[in-house]
């Protein structure tokens, strides 16, 4: 009984929900780009499903029809049906083939039309430009601005204003990655030595998950990114907060934590604006406390997780490039206090 129930719940979950989460799904579009693709998907799905059923029924009919027709008579001797049957079959097969060509032509037109519409979507309104650079295994995110002091740098998450197109400039520092937030748009590769562009836009506020889609080595599975769409004013507030240098330590523990950070190897790789830490090869930590996740979507950003991550990065994400630093006992706690305070 319980087993049957479990099975039923399973089957129901699979059938109704596909697989649960909707925050990384091509079938739950929240922007015009993904929306157009989704419409095209349903058109293809229904048409091709119909074709599939017709072919299967035709096959089953061919097998189950009564094999006693007059045209069958000569079969056992010359292994060919009558000329009349062959003529009829030729007409049917030729008709089916021509129909196939026509249907494929219609699908081709639908596909190219959607492609063209997608390419015209981007620059219609004034948008913002964000540079996304792939690294093994995290995302570097930079909001471009003509005024260098207004540039914002963050990592592994991207805030965008609702209803405004965002142009992504995609590039890679090492191997090929691919940027994919299915609720917003299809994927686009990040290729070293090239800059690819892609426009995304969110219709309403929300959080959507994206993930690297091109195999990029050991931790390809843990290279996720959150895109957070907010109303214009909220987005602007976030941008202002991100532009500010890091928050000054406000307690003794935080102060000591900053010293721990600055006196250890952390500074070789990480940057914290407003401190001497100016490393450029790892995520910018100026506002690390404000982020949703750690280690490119691997862990929710909590103090405990941050402690586990710093103490033993290879356990959380084997093969990643973060150095393990053996902190003396008592140093980790203040360091966590300091980093979590960097909102």
């Amino acid at each position: 009984m319980t087993r049957a129930r479990t099975l039923f719940i399973w089957a129901a979950a699979v059938a109704l929900n596909g697989c649960g989460g909707h925050q990384q799904s091509a079938l739950d579009s929240v922007g015009p780009q993904a929306g157009k693709i989704e419409s095209l998907w349903w058109f293809f799905l229904w048409l091709l499903t119909a074709i599939f059923l017709i072919v299967i029924f035709a096959t089953l009919w061919a097998l189950t029809r009564r094999h006693r027709g007059i045209e069958q008579e000569p079969l056992e001797r010359i292994h060919l049906p009558s000329g009349e049957t062959e003529h009829r079959l030729t007409r049917v097969v030729a008709g089916a083939s021509i129909l196939t060509v026509i249907i494929l032509f219609a699908l081709l037109i639908a596909s190219v039309t959607t492609g063209k519409a997608l390419s015209e979507l981007g620059p219609k309104k004034q948008g913002i430009t964000v540079e996304v650079t792939g690294n093994q295994w995290w995302w570097y995110v930079r909001y471009l601005n003509g005024d260098a002091s207004r540039i914002v740098v963050t990592a592994n998450e991207m805030h965008i204003p609702v209803g405004r197109p965002v142009m992504l400039r995609l590039n890679s520092n090492d191997v090929i990655h691919s940027f994919w937030t299915p609720n917003l748009h299809g994927k686009r590769d990040l290729i070293p030595g090239r800059v690819n562009t892609e426009w995304i836009e969110a219709d309403h506020p929300g959080r959507w998950r994206g993930q690297c889609a091109e195999f990029c080595g050991m931790q390809h599975a843990h290279m996720a990114m959150w895109v957070i769409a907010e109303p214009e004013d909220q987005f602007e507030r976030w941008m202002e907060a991100q532009r500010a240098p890091s928050k000054q330590p406000s307690s003794a523990s935080e102060l000591r934590g900053r010293d721990v950070f600055l006196n250890n190897a952390c500074v070789f790789c990480h940057h914290i604006a407003g401190t001497p830490a100016a490393g450029q090869v790892a995520p910018d930590l100026t506002h690390v406390g404000s982020r949703l996740t750690l280690a490119a979507g691997t862990l929710p950003n909590t103090k405990g997780n941050l402690g586990g991550w710093i103490a033993d990065p290879q356990n959380v994400k084997p093969g990643n490039h973060m150095a393990q630093i053996d902190l003396p006992p008592g140093d980790l706690e203040p360091l966590l206090d300091y980093l979590e305070s960097l909102k």
């Binding site: 096959t59 049917v92 097969v93 596909s111 959607t114 090492d174 290729i191 889609a213 599975a221």
Partner: protein
């Protein structure tokens, strides 16, 4: 030369003649015989058995991956091992199972179907087999010593380059490709020469069996595709890795996309190289078990040939997400959809054949019907993937994993199982158990769909490929668990097949030369065929020589003078030579050594030269036998 009307094909005419044939074609006994065999039946069987072993190994790898993905955050297999597993799985299935298996079937069946005694270039055939075997052993020697390749079966640069894949893993992958491409080129050359030059008298181009047409198209595709992967894996990748060229290094003016273009110029035709012979097998099975000549022979042949051509014009649909110019991409969408017309025509012709024939529902037909169901579904998802906007969403997700397993397992493995049941009596002289065969089919069919259908949904729901784990919040757990259950069912199906084959080999009903009353010439030979196939070479009086009434069948007994007629024949070197084995061994050692030290290329090629000198050393004046 006079055609004699009696006795029927395959029957012994003259005791002395038969003894002479036995003597010319006999294999050396014992261990020496094992290394010196050049008959196509023995080599074909070796290809088939070896490739089947690799199928099992690749299947076990797949099972491990399914176990790892069965639940979220599974600690069973870490990322390092998982990446080696999926790379080795893909490499094995493509290079060590699918292509060699199809080639093995071709090597075994083509000379029989054409009514000749062996393939052209029998020693090259032996050489090709040994290279294939050594390549497979090389890959697994690496895998078992934790040096299995881990950059994917496609080994995209720069990930596979010297900076991001240090060590020998990727070198072993790239060099393994060398082994298998040499082997594939050998077989392709033999089969093209055999099919074009050694057909039975009377077998005009319009009378070639569909399976031989498919092998001809496949062989030409091999000849054009394999050099491309040689350029990608050996020139771009291995030179970047071993001597520091910068083909793929963007910082030095190289371009990683160049590798992708050349790789997929091979990689896409590769799919058709696997799948076109399977289409030929389906035609053979359908015509035999529906008791009628295949419907639309010219349309079928033209479909195969056009698939062969168009197959080279689709490669960019693997690269839609790389950001190529849109106008060029639209061309590849159109080409990718056009190839569906060729497949569609063949499906329609088979349905028409079944509709107007008298279908005997034996196991091979079950597998053909399974093929129609699975392959049509996979073909239709292929049409979806040809549409660029849809491809941008589902590319590199489990949707694609589902798609190509539907196309390759449905399009190649199901026909292949059907072909095993169909030709097993020819290979062994005994029938496979039909009831068990049908059970075998249903287990595989259910297991397959259970494994791969949920992957379509997973892909649309955002699950990307080549990830060793995923968080529970993604909600991908249930569908993945279902897929793993399906994979276990496939395993059971595989065990049933092996049990059936092993038991039938010993206890199966004696088949006789022609258990299905087939139409093509392989059914004229004994089961299993003798080393020389036919006592008297048959004449193809029609497209289905075995379906012409016995009193009208003709065999060749001499050379005819009274009219213009060419019988393209050649003296076969039936002496069993050891040199193909030695040459393959020396070249193989050299290639393996060169993976570790570039300078090994020099002794390797020197030693191979010695092997070739031995191979071609004239032993006695032509035509004189001891």
């Amino acid at each position: 030369m006079t055609p004699v009307t009696e006795p029927p094909l395959g029957e012994i005419d003259d005791e002395g003649e038969r003894r002479a044939l036995e003597r010319s074609w006999r294999r050396r006994p014992g261990i020496a015989g094992w290394f010196t065999v050049t008959t196509h039946q023995a080599l074909g069987k070796r290809y088939i058995v070896t490739a089947f072993v690799f199928l099992l190994i690749g299947g076990v790898e797949a099972l491990f991956m399914r176990l790892q993905l069965a639940r979220p955050d599974n600690p069973l297999i870490g990322p390092d091992k998982y990446n080696q597993l999926f790379t080795t799985h893909g490499t094995t299935m493509m290079f060590l199972f699918a292509v060699p298996m199809m080639e093995g079937m071709g090597v075994y069946l083509v000379p029989l179907m054409l009514g000749t005694r062996n393939v052209a270039f029998p020693r090259l055939n032996a050489f090709g087999y040994w290279m294939f075997l050594f390549g497979g052993i090389f890959l697994y020697a690496g895998f078992l010593t934790n040096t299995g390749p881990d950059a994917g079966w496609f080994a995209y640069t720069p990930l596979s380059g010297p900076q991001f894949s240090p060590g020998k893993r990727v070198d072993i992958w790239a060099q393994m490709i060398t082994f298998t491409e040499i082997s594939a080129l050998c077989v392709a050359t033999e089969l093209i020469a055999t099919i074009l030059k050694m057909r039975a008298p009377g077998m005009s181009l319009t009378r070639i069996p569909m399976f031989c047409w498919s092998m001809l198209v496949q062989s030409f595709m091999v000849v054009f595709a394999m050099p491309a992967v040689m350029v990608a894996s050996n020139i771009f990748l291995l030179l970047d890795r071993t001597v520091g060229t910068h083909f793929s290094n963007a910082a030095e003016g190289g371009d990683p996309l160049l590798y992708q273009h050349v790789f997929w110029f091979f990689g896409h035709p590769e799919v058709y190289i696997i799948f076109i012979p399977a289409l030929g097998m389906v035609s053979s099975i359908v015509e035999t078990h529906t008791r009628r000549a295949i419907f639309g022979y010219p349309a079928m042949v033209l479909s195969l040939v056009s698939t062969g051509f168009i197959g080279f014009g689709l490669w960019v649909h693997h690269m839609f997400a790389t950001g190529l110019p849109q106008i060029g991409e639209a061309y590849f969408t159109a080409a990718s959809m056009m190839i569906a017309v060729a497949s569609g025509v063949q499906i329609f012709c088979w349905i028409a054949t079944m509709w107007s024939g008298r279908v005997h529902m034996r196991t091979p037909m079950y597998f053909v019907l399974g093929f129609v169901f699975i392959f049509v579904l996979g073909g239709l998802t292929g049409v979806m993937l040809a549409a660029i906007p849809l491809d941008l969403q589902v590319h590199d997700t489990f949707f694609v994993v589902a798609h190509f397993h539907y196309v390759l397992i449905g399009g190649a493995l199901f026909p292949l199982f059907g072909a095993f049941y169909h030709w097993f009596p020819k290979f062994t002289g005994r029938m496979m158990n039909d009831a068990l065969g049908k059970i075998n089919f249903w287990i595989l069919f259910v297991g397959f769909n259970l494994t791969f259908f949920p992957m379509h949904i997973l892909g649309l729901k955002g699950m990307t490929r080549r990830i060793y784990t995923y968080p529970a919040e993604m909600g991908w757990g249930p569908a993945n668990a279902l897929a793993t259950v399906g994979a276990c069912i496939i395993l059971i199906g595989g065990i049933v097949f092996i049990a059936n084959a092993l038991a039938s080999r010993v206890h199966g009903e004696i088949a006789g030369p022609d258990p299905w009353d087939g139409g093509t010439l392989e059914w004229a030979a004994d089961s299993p065929p003798r080393n020389y196939n036919f006592v008297n070479l048959p004449v193809a009086t029609s497209r289905y020589p075995m379906w012409t009434p016995p009193e009208e069948r003709v065999v060749v007994t001499g050379v005819r003078h009274d009219r213009r007629e060419a019988l393209v024949t050649t003296l076969m070197d039936a002496e069993p030579p050891i040199w193909p084995f030695i040459t393959a061994l020396l070249l193989g050692l050299g290639l393996v050594g060169a993976t570790f030290r570039f300078s090994w290329y020099y002794p390797a090629f020197g030693a191979t030269g010695i092997g070739l000198i031995g191979w071609f050393w004239p032993r006695r004046p032509e035509g004189v036998r001891s």
